[in-house]
Structures are given as structure tokens and as C-alpha cells.
């Protein structure tokens, strides 16, 4: 399984996502990147992240994304 940082890098290759704690505030992800990320995570982990969970707080950094995946039943 690809690590989250690798998936993020595929979406925005120009950034080092391990070096940020707030992807939105640091301009590394916008709302459409978030949609692309959700679609990729759904496909990669065989889940459907609920639409109500697609909020910036859940995509702030690798830790919050991992927490969201665990909430959706993914064992990391």
C-alpha cells in the first residue's frame, strides 16, 4: 500500500508533504486537490470517505489524513 505522503506527492509533485503541518494554509492543497485526494484514497483503500468528512480540518496534514482513514475503517 502506498504511504499517504507518496499519494500526496503524486497529486502535487512540487511539495514535500512531510515538512508541513497545515497543507491548506501552506498553499500545498486547494479544494480541488482535496477532491482528487479523496478519490485516490477511496480507490487505494477500497473505501468511500463520507462527503460530510470532506472538510479542510481532515486534510491538514498526514496525521489528520491517517486519522480520517482509521475512522473509515482502514487499518494503517
Amino acid at each position: 500500500m502506498k504511504p499517504i505522503a507518496h499519494i500526496l506527492k503524486e497529486i502535487r509533485p512540487e511539495f514535500d508533504f512531510t515538512a508541513s503541518n497545515d497543507f491548506m494554509a501552506d498553499g500545498m492543497l486547494d479544494s480541488f486537490d482535496m477532491v482528487t485526494l479523496v478519490a485516490t484514497l477511496d480507490k487505494t483503500f477500497g473505501i468511500s470517505i463520507p462527503g460530510t468528512e470532506i472538510v479542510p480540518e481532515n486534510f491538514q496534514n498526514i496525521g489528520t489524513i491517517e486519522a480520517l482513514l482509521r475512522k473509515c475503517g482502514v487499518k494503517l
Binding site: R12, S48, G51, I54, V55
Partner: protein, 343 residues
């Protein structure tokens, strides 16, 4: 039901260089959101042009007579003029009878259900036999080509629905909710009396995310709209079905307004509805044409079924206002259900 769509088609691939984004990111967006082709009016074409074209098509084919029209509702966010009402413009251009009740309704993506409710109310009058409901918008004329948030998703269309009384005893359940406190998440800031259009409101501004937009253009807070739909629409549909005493599994199709494929797939997942029972293929072929997407969904997915039989359909619209609406009905017995090009 008849839909009129402009013959002019543009593809996402043709347009993506307008956006200030790397091609790879735009292509990912295309795949996820379902952007592909959309129909756009030529400069100067108004909703009355699409509507008159469609109604003349029905007259010429003997599917409707001008004198049969007792009411004409036009649901739009892009009227021909501030005044007069576009419904009166259409009445005049087609020489419809003077006692045809004409009314414009300022609604958008929730407007098909709202228009139907108004049509049903008018049909309660004994002398009213047929009501024409027109859901039409040409919002492409109010979008910035440099705004990736809006430009690739908008399409233009007019849907014409002839609503008439039926002898069969069939109850239609509907619910509508509105929340004006969120009116600013989807709006065209300039052009009304609050902020009249001027050379200043036409200036493209950097609005973040590398998008350029003027105050004369359509603005949408995409995240707010997305969360509004995911939060508010499922309980409204559940309430409508509960009122009707109908289980979710008993509904053949959930025909929802179609802003983009991703939003509808997430809505279907939340409601635990198989994607095949919530069609999401309008935006990829025609773009998001506001209140016309539900009728177009019927035409491209269910035309034969609703002409030769029927289905239990739950309609749901959501958008500007904010407004959200749902309706449960047996959809069938249609004498026509087709889509024509406006050229």
C-alpha cells in the same frame, strides 16, 4: 418533456489551457469530477430563444397547441431582462392567449421541483388544464473563462415540461427547505441594484487558487456547497419518503440535480443508494444546466421507460438560496421525452 440544448459543444480538453494550472492537475480533475463536454449558447442567445425554439418544435409536431397553454412558469437565474418577466416575453413572442397565467420564478438548481409544485398548485384551478414549466439558464454567459472553480462545469439548456391533470389517483409527495443565511455561497455579486454592473465590477480579480473572476461573474464557494448538499439533502429525501411511507429500496431512481459526478457519487454513498439508481451522467455530456439537469437526466437515461411505462422516482434539487427540494412521484405516461439541439 423536451430539453433544448445549444448545438455548440466545447470540451474540457479544448478549454483547460485557459486555466492557470498544470495540465496533469486539470486532467485529474476531469477524471474525478466527470468534466468532458458541455453545451454553450452563442453570445447574445437568451433563455427565451431556447424556450421559444422548444415550444415551436412542440407546436409544429402537434404535441402541444398554443391555445392549450393556461399557465407558463419560467424558472431561471438568467432572465432576458430585469423587466419585463421572461415568461411574458415568451408569451408575446408566441402570441399565447392573454389569460395564460405567466410568472417568473427566481430559482436555480432546486427549481425543477419548485416549478412542478407551482404548476400543480395552478392546476388545482378548475379551468386550468395545461401548464408549461420552463427551467432554463444561460449561466455560461456569467462565468469567467479563467475561473477553474466554475467555468468547466456550467452548461446552458432549457427544459420544457408540460404538466396536466391525470385521471389516475396518485399522490405526489414533496418537501422544500430554504436557508437564506447561506445566500452568499452561490451568487453573482454585481448586476443587481445592490451592486450595479460598472467598469469596476467587470475587472478580473485574483480570487485565490490562481483563479481570476469579476464581480459580474458567478461565484461559488465549492466546499460550502458540497457540504451543504451532503448534510442537508439526505435527511430531506428521507423525510419525503417517510411521509410517503416508501422505503429507500422501493424507489427505482433518485434523479438529483447534477453539479458534478463526484458530488453525486458521494451523495449516493451516504444514502447507501447504488450509483446505477442515481444517474450522474448529465454533467459529462452537457454541463451543469441548473434546473434543467433533472429533466435531462430523465431524457438520456429513462426516455423509453417513462413513455411506455413508469417508475417510482425521487427527484431532488439543491442550490442557490440556499434551497433544497425533493419530490416522490410515479414518473411515466409521457407522450414525449426528447432532447433537441438549438442552432
Amino acid at each position: 418533456m423536451l430539453a433544448v440544448v445549444p448545438a455548440r459543444e466545447r470540451t474540457f480538453l479544448e478549454e483547460m489551457n485557459n486555466f492557470n494550472f498544470p495540465e496533469s492537475r486539470s486532467l485529474k480533475l476531469k477524471e474525478v469530477m466527470g468534466y468532458d463536454r458541455r453545451r454553450l449558447v452563442e453570445p447574445g442567445v437568451c433563455i427565451s430563444d431556447l424556450a421559444v425554439f422548444g415550444l415551436k418544435h412542440l407546436f409544429e409536431r402537434g404535441l402541444l397547441k398554443p391555445d392549450e397553454i393556461d399557465g407558463l412558469f419560467v424558472v431561471t437565474q438568467t432572465p432576458d431582462y430585469f423587466m419585463p418577466p421572461t415568461s411574458n416575453v415568451i408569451q408575446g413572442r408566441l402570441n399565447l392567449k392573454q389569460d395564460a397565467f405567466c410568472l417568473d420564478i427566481s430559482q436555480g438548481c432546486a427549481g425543477f421541483v419548485i416549478g412542478l409544485i407551482q404548476a400543480f398548485s395552478l392546476l388545482e384551478q378548475e379551468n386550468v388544464k395545461k401548464v408549461v414549466l420552463i427551467n432554463a439558464d444561460v449561466l455560461s454567459r456569467k462565468t469567467s473563462p479563467k475561473d477553474r472553480n466554475i467555468y468547466p462545469l456550467v452548461g446552458d439548456a432549457a427544459a420544457i415540461t408540460i404538466v396536466e391533470k391525470d385521471a389516475a389517483d396518485s399522490v405526489i409527495h414533496a418537501s422544500v427547505k430554504m436557508d437564506g443565511t447561506r445566500n452568499e455561497v452561490l451568487m453573482i455579486p454585481a448586476g443587481g441594484m445592490r451592486l450595479p454592473s460598472s467598469p469596476e465590477t467587470a475587472v478580473l480579480e485574483d480570487v485565490g487558487d490562481k483563479n481570476l473572476r469579476a464581480k459580474d461573474h458567478l461565484f461559488m464557494d465549492g466546499s460550502a456547497v458540497f457540504n451543504f448538499v451532503q448534510t442537508e439533502v439526505p435527511p430531506l429525501i428521507e423525510d419525503t419518503l417517510k411521509d410517503a411511507g416508501v422505503a429507500m429500496d422501493a424507489v427505482d431512481y433518485f434523479l438529483c440535480h447534477q453539479p458534478n459526478r463526484f458530488m453525486l457519487q458521494k451523495l449516493a454513498d451516504k444514502m447507501k443508494v447504488p450509483h446505477a439508481r442515481m444517474p450522474n451522467n448529465v454533467v459529462e455530456r452537457f454541463g451543469n444546466s441548473s434546473g434543467a439537469t433533472i429533466p435531462i437526466a430523465v431524457m438520456i437515461n429513462l426516455a423509453e421507460r417513462v413513455k411506455t411505462g413508469d417508475c417510482l422516482a425521487c427527484l431532488a434539487g439543491f442550490g442557490v438560496g440556499m434551497t433544497w427540494s425533493s419530490m416522490l412521484m410515479r414518473l411515466g405516461g409521457l407522450s414525449f421525452c426528447e432532447l433537441v439541439d438549438y442552432a
